[in-house]
Subunit: 273 residues, 2 copies
């Protein structure tokens, strides 16, 4: 790792590839082409071809943990992360496992994320409070990506509740910006499906970077999200696409189709930043 | 599984063993006795001896996921859960992994928890809202244990925020009791370290059962917690102890010491319920 901070490594890749695209690696073998579906290590093989096809147009990769855990595929998750680091060393990896637990347990999760899997960053749920996030923050060269305003419909249930005239997600955002981000290693998850909230949060957290899910299958609009969430220098956003890239084709041309989808998303984002 | 609902199976064990003790299985090999520390499958061997030693005094077991994930020990987690089901079939297992993610991903986590590991219940983080919990609720014979007021110091950061005169944890509790628990398969995590909150939540959720962490190493008081959280029939609480039982002795007598610690906790709880 050449740059000391996670976000510096992501932005270096973003500048090099002129891209704010985060490629989500959510393998669903039933959507793989016939030649791969029942192959040994099908998940790793699928990921490897997606990674090689999209790396030129990405600033980072984000494997989603549940897709591996449900299939007892931890070894293929590990091999996927190793493959990215070895073959595409400038592209950081966010392990999307949304961890959240008390201090001594969070130490174990930090160990899992940063040592076992060697991820450059991990997603974390803030509900349990500051002492549950501290164990990750100690890793100065890794990123801690904290859920703030998520992209799903139920995000409204608790994240939108009003506390002294501010919504809960804004209180989380302020806490991260003012306290947890002292080491400059925090990011926030803010969904593309709520551009107004993206703009509101951007206004209170300065240049703090956002991981933005919700484009594509979840209905988020690229133009609205980029205009609402970008920083003054046209960065500040890692815009994730998983299904829209991975399954652009479910035929044998899936890798070429993924490459085209990543390029199209990159260019669409660049039109508005 | 003879009883249709998770909590019915737990209460059957609680009545049979006259115990509300949940034995937390948080293996830390550096605390194992010398004879086990470097043994092959040390985690499973340690767990097996703890399980056999404490089963008579327990109503359920709760393996904590991070302790296995940090050590690449998913196979030993699986074998531990299988061992409990085979050797102590009346004792349900709560997989403590605090999952929380959007709908299609939550389906994968439900698959992981209930199919891959065969757990009877799983812990879930509510921050992302209702649609992220629904995929677990569909499993009528499994338990969904939702974080409400956790036992750690940082629990105050967000869970205690006031929303229209009610604290956030109470809004979560009411949502679970009034909406998510329609199938009678929900529980709440309420920490023993906050007896006043235990009483407040008990007052608004009827007989909804609580999983209560925070006894022992975290400083929670048994008498205060039981008096504050019990239901009228002297149940309603699954009181977890992990470190206090597992590491009652770090010598070769660890299993006997664990049995004595579980018995002592059982009896201490029973004095106040």
């Amino acid at each position: 790792m050449t740059d000391a901070r996670f976000i510096a490594r992501v932005y270096a890749a973003a500048d090099r590839h002129q891209s704010l695209v985060c490629v989500g690696l959510d393998p669903e073998p039933e959507k793989f082409p016939a030649s791969l579906r029942n192959a040994p290590r099908a998940i790793f093989e699928f990921n490897r071809r997606i990674i090689d096809a999209t790396a030129d147009y990405a600033c980072c990769f984000k494997p989603q943990f549940a897709h591996y855990a449900a299939l007892s595929a931890e070894d293929q998750l590990l091999d996927t992360i190793r493959y990215i680091h070895e073959q595409h060393p400038g592209l950081p990896v966010i392990l999307d496992s949304k961890r959240g637990d008390i201090g001594n347990t969070a130490e174990k999760y930090a160990q899992e994320s940063f040592v076992r899997y060697g991820a450059d960053a991990v997603t974390v749920n803030p509900y349990m409070g500051g002492d549950t996030v501290t164990p990750y923050l100690k890793w100065a060269d890794r990123g801690v990506v904290i859920l703030c305003r998520t992209s799903n419909p139920g995000a409204r249930d608790f994240q939108d509740l009003q506390v002294d005239g501010k919504r809960l997600y804004r209180i989380v955002a302020e806490r991260v910006a003012q306290a947890w981000n002292a080491g400059g290693n925090c990011l926030l998850v803010v969904g593309a499906t709520y551009p107004q909230e993206l703009a509101e949060i951007r206004a209170v957290v300065g240049d703090l970077p956002f991981l933005v899910p919700g484009i594509g299958a979840q209905g988020g609009d690229v133009e609205a999200a980029v205009k609402a969430g970008r920083t003054a220098d046209g960065r500040g956003l890692l815009i994730n696409s998983s299904r829209g890239i991975l399954y652009a084709s479910q035929g044998e041309d899936f890798a070429e189709a993924a490459r085209a989808a990543a390029l199209a998303l990159r260019d669409q984002i660049n039109r508005y930043r």
